[in-house]
């Protein structure tokens, strides 16, 4: 990768983490959901760099286009609009958690560093070629061969979620 591409990726990573911080700690739930939108976009950029082009598209369509809109809808249908009622976060819980979270993240990073070093030792030689190859056809073939059963299970899950969502949200 060239330096320029690396800078773009690093910017996306930093944006993702900052947005996630806003998701967790912003007192206004509307701003938190917008931050989540940007976190989704940042993760999509990271997917592209990790060689998952189709997945990045799916991430944007499903998360950024679907889930964010659903969340915004739910906020606007249920909150007192234009009032500061949108602010709600448990400060009593947040304060200690904000102290623990960095320590927890650091510990997780240390643990993952060992795992990462182990993985890097056994990384296959073709991983750069893999990450730049198109993924649509391999994903399609895998979904209809090796992963056919989970794929069918997912279709049933989605159908039941659709029906269940409609049934739950039906008017009285």
């Amino acid at each position: 990768m060239t330096v320029g591409l690396k800078i773009v990726l690093a910017a996306a990573q930093i944006l993702t983490v900052l947005s996630a911080v806003a998701v967790t700690f912003h007192p206004n739930i509307l701003y938190a959901s917008i931050a989540l939108f940007f976190a989704f976009c940042g993760v999509a950029v990271m997917f592209v760099y990790a060689g998952a082009d189709f997945l990045a598209g799916a991430q944007l369509i499903v998360y950024a286009g679907g889930v964010t809109i659903l969340v915004l809808f739910a906020i606007m249908l249920t909150q007192w609009l234009y009032k500061s009622k949108l602010r709600d976060i448990r400060m009593r819980v947040v304060a200690p958690l904000a102290l623990i979270a960095p320590a927890l993240t650091y510990g997780l990073c240390v643990a993952l560093r060992g795992l990462g070093d182990h993985v890097l030792k056994t990384t296959p030689a073709n991983f750069e070629a893999f990450s730049s190859a198109p993924k649509t056809m391999p994903i399609g073939q895998a979904l209809l061969t090796n992963y056919l059963l989970p794929f069918e299970a997912i279709t049933i899950l989605l159908l039941s979620a659709l029906v269940g969502g409609v049934w739950l949200a039906r008017p009285k």
Partner: protein
């Protein structure tokens, strides 16, 4: 200058991805615990699912250089979509019942 360059290399390599995924997961967990609003809890869950998907994708690149990790991440995206739809339907239902979004008021089934 070389320190900056090596930092960039670290961030854009496997370890950087893992660090980002770890922080996303922890932040999501904190949001689940600390948010009063039921939608806020949902936002935290979505962050955690994203972190898990990110880990699957990055390990599929560095560990096996095969498509399987991406398939699992795709399933995670599908499941998250279904989960968000059902969760928001439940939240709307709850709001109609209690006229509140506070998840701690959902205590009808306690004891």
């Amino acid at each position: 200058m070389s320190g900056l360059a090596s930092g960039l290399d670290w961030l854009t390599g496997l370890h950087g991805y893992l660090a980002v995924a770890a922080s996303l997961f922890v932040l999501g967990a904190v949001a689940v615990i600390s948010r009063k609003n039921a939608i806020g809890v949902l936002l935290g869950v979505e962050l955690m699912l994203n972190a898990a998907g990110l880990n699957f994708v990055i390990f599929s690149k560095y560990r096996t250089a095969a498509i399987d990790g991406q398939i699992v991440a795709l399933f995670i995206i599908f499941i998250a979509a279904a989960e968000a739809a059902v969760a928001l339907a439940i939240i709307l239902r709850f709001y109609r019942l209690k006229h509140s979004m506070d998840a701690s008021e959902a205590n009808l089934l306690r004891d």
